[in-house]
């Protein structure tokens, strides 16, 4: 303070001060210039569509009379009408329930398998021998697009063209119809588990590889078995990765679309509103009702947001503060 007051005269010399302020102002703008490309892309391709979807969800088309002549359709404000319609749609809650059941099957199975595979691959003996081959073959299904995977599994599920059924029948066992009412959910879940396990396994495995081996050595000196090391040391250390893969799986579950959509033409048991996202698709493209589709999308986005951030908040301290 004192330094400044002594250096600066009581009355600022106007030209000099201005000259000094201009570069300062330019400097203040620099971060924005650097940020601009990202901000513009963010605004044009993420923020604007979201705002537009929000806007559409509050609008609807009003038809007058027979709706056949020109200009018989007008877009009007609908308030929260689309939201009430979406939430009270008799197909909506069952689709949410279905996705809930699907998540209860997929997430624990997929993450359980991923963790098991990661631990097995990380074990001393496999690391040096078949590790690389096994890692790649477990990861490979993740590289198959969901639509292709569903077509592939669809063929295996259809009794008449399935080699699995042929084999079972040759052995004298009557094969169950996997696309019947009771089993469709499992059939769809199976595709997701098959496709997703590899990715989650790699994430957990990478976290395991980052653990200093000295930890294991000291545990071994203390007389811990491999199972005890896995259970007491490895799993707690990779907990943050498990939390992350859980959040990813949760989001993927809420957005399940490609698998049931691809299987739908093959079976009577998958309806056009089998999952909430399929309902969005039906409203937008089969019914040409973008407004209802936008409202349901907003609801799904909010639910995803609340569930994933709620979960992170719940486990945050436990997962990220290992030292405590």
């Amino acid at each position: 303070m004192s330094l400044i007051t002594t250096a600066a005269p009581s009355k600022p010399a106007t030209p000099a001060a201005a000259a000094r302020r201009r570069p300062a102002a330019r400097r203040a703008g620099t971060p924005y210039a650097f940020l601009a490309p990202a901000l513009i892309l963010f605004a044009a391709f993420l923020a604007a569509p979201i705002v537009y979807a929000g806007y559409l969800s509050l609008r609807k088309v009003k038809v007058s009379g027979l709706g056949l002549g020109a200009k018989s359709r007008t877009e009007i404000w609908a308030g929260l009408d689309n939201y009430t319609r979406s939430l009270t749609d008799p197909d909506f809650l069952p689709s949410v329930g279905r996705v809930g059941a699907y998540g209860l099957i997929v997430v624990p199975t997929m993450l359980g398998l991923a963790l098991l595979f990661a631990l097995l691959l990380d074990a001393n003996r496999t690391r040096e021998t078949v590790g690389k081959f096994a890692r790649i073959s477990i990861f490979l299904p993740y590289a198959v697009p969901a639509v292709v995977a569903s077509l592939l599994w669809g063929f295996l599920y259809l009794p008449r063209v399935s080699p699995i059924n042929d084999t079972l029948e040759a052995l004298g066992i009557s094969a169950p119809n996997l696309l019947s009412n009771d089993l469709t959910l499992w059939a769809v879940a199976n595709i997701a588990v098959w496709g997703g396990t590899g990715f989650n396994m790699i994430v957990i495995y990478t976290a395991l590889r980052a653990v200093p081996t000295s930890l294991y050595e000291s545990a071994r000196i203390d007389g811990a078995s491999e199972v005890a090391i896995a259970w007491r040391i490895k799993i707690p250390i990779v907990m943050p990765s498990l939390v992350m893969t859980f959040v990813f799986s949760l989001i993927a579950t809420l957005q399940v679309f490609a698998e049931p959509m691809t299987l739908k033409p093959l079976a009577n048991t998958i309806s056009t509103t089998w999952t909430p996202l399929m309902k969005v698709y039906r409203d937008a493209f089969a019914r040409n009702d973008l407004y209802a589709a936008a409202a349901t999308s907003v609801i799904i986005a909010l639910a995803t947001f609340i569930l994933s951030f709620g979960f992170l908040k719940l486990v945050g301290r436990r997962a990220f503060n290992q030292e405590d």
């Binding site: 923020a47 038809v63 359709r73 259809l158 008449r160 063209v161 033409p265 309806s271 089969a286």
Partner: protein
């Protein structure tokens, strides 16, 4: 804080403005009057080889040049067209439009009324088909291109070994289905497909239903009427008895069943040979075509599955020339011949019977194939489509899917009430006047 975020907000607003204005340009179509002016028309269609048909027109009309733009199919083309109409530009001049989509397109102000230009060729088409492009009004929203009268296709060898004739009535069909399935439990005469609302609509049409209608200034919806109830109860009964299958059509499984001789019949339309050629090629030569089984053999009737018209869009700047091309394409003998031989469609025009003389390749031994088809297209019952056919069709997929899976005849007839309610609710919700 305020000043810190100002540039960010400016960027966001600019982007929002940019995306907002990009789709608000509108151009109003203007008629060109100069007859010698050279115009270029674009034509969206998904029929194969349509560029070859257009080439024949282009050679004769140097001033009206048509460019064919191949589309993926009926549904995606409609979605694209409606998007272009909403955006105010980007629509073609001429567009292939399935009959059941026409009311939806008209209600979105996508199709131009060309009554003045093509009204005079009305008599060249069966009345039932022409009704599909007028929606029962004075306006004309296109010219019929092809039609899909229902026909029955069956494995003559299987019928022969079971001592059966082609079914004349639906009672005959049910008896044949039972006999065939009893003789070989793996064989079915048909399947009830909850994926193909179009076929079920055709069957209801044959029984005398017309699901939509216009009554003064209001729409009527009659999906749950006596005729449709009769059809649903009939097929539900066959499924419940287990004498026909309940699996959807157009699956790898269904293709395999046609080819390995476990599906030995198909209620389909005049275009079936093309499908059978691909799905059942190992059984070529064993199939025969027959007229549809009837409810009343004394008053033969049929329905339609598929078929489309050619329309001029409201965004076309050369409505007159576009209408000229559309009229030529669907009624000129030269064009009809090209449509049948190059684009493999069954032209809707009356004259097609004199053009189609040799049977399709899959039915090479059946000389009377097109005679049967021609008879069938004259027996088409009138049927009006409404502005929300897709809503009714997706309701069909869902409710009849459940019914087919349950194998209960009662579930089939109950499904119609659900379809009716879903369709009416949707119309009312959009603000259409609905009677009843």
């Amino acid at each position: 804080m305020k000043t810190k975020f100002a540039p960010l907000m400016a960027a966001l607003t600019a982007a929002a403005l940019f995306t907002g204005t990009a789709c608000s340009s509108t151009d109003s179509p203007e008629e060109t009057t100069d007859p010698n002016q050279k115009v270029e028309l674009t034509y969206w269609t998904w029929a194969p080889n349509m560029d070859k048909v257009a080439a024949a027109w282009n050679a004769k009309n140097p001033n009206i040049q048509v460019t064919v733009n191949k589309q993926d199919g009926g549904d995606p083309a409609v979605t694209k067209l409606l998007t272009a109409i909403k955006a105010g530009s980007g629509a073609p001049d001429v567009m292939q439009a399935e009959y059941q989509k026409i009311p939806t397109l008209v209600s979105s102000d996508a199709l131009a009324d060309i009554a003045g230009e093509v009204g005079s060729i009305k008599d060249k088409f069966p009345a039932g088909t022409w009704n599909g492009v007028t929606l029962g009004s004075e306006a004309v929203y296109g010219v019929p291109q092809d039609s899909g009268p229902l026909m029955f296709f069956y494995r003559s060898d299987v019928f022969e070994s079971n001592g059966l004739q082609a079914p004349k009535t639906w009672d005959d069909y049910a008896a044949a289905a039972e006999k065939i399935h009893k003789a070989d439990p793996k064989q079915y005469l048909g399947t009830f497909s909850a994926n193909d609302a179009g076929l079920f609509t055709g069957l209801a049409q044959q029984a005398g239903a017309s699901w939509w209608g216009v009554n003064g200034e209001s729409w009527t919806v009659n999906i749950n009427d006596a005729a449709t109830q009769k059809v649903a109860a009939y097929w539900g009964g066959l499924v419940e008895k287990g004498v026909i299958d309940n699996k959807p059509m157009y699956t790898p499984e269904w293709n395999a069943a046609l080819n390995d001789g476990t599906q030995v019949g198909w209620v389909s339309a005049v275009w079936a040979p093309g499908v059978l050629d691909g799905s059942a090629k190992d059984t070529k030569g064993k199939w025969k075509a027959a007229p549809m089984p009837q409810w009343d053999a004394a008053a033969p009737a049929t329905g339609a599955w598929g078929g489309s018209a050619t329309s001029v869009t409201t965004q076309s700047k050369h409505k007159k020339q576009a209408a000229q091309f559309v009229a030529w394409l669907n009624s000129d003998p030269e064009a009809l011949k090209l449509l049948a031989t190059e684009a493999f469609v069954y032209p809707a025009a009356n004259e097609s019977t004199s053009i189609l003389t040799s049977p399709p390749a899959f039915f090479a031994d059946q000389a009377d194939f097109y005679t049967i088809a021609g008879e069938a297209s004259k027996q088409l019952k009138p049927f009006t489509y409404g502005p929300n056919v897709n809503v009714a069709y997706s309701a069909f997929n869902d409710t009849f899917g459940k019914a087919a899976e349950s194998k209960k005849a009662a579930a089939f007839t109950e499904s119609l009430a659900t379809m009716q309610k879903t369709t009416v609710d949707d119309l009312k919700n959009s603000g259409f006047n609905v009677a009843g």
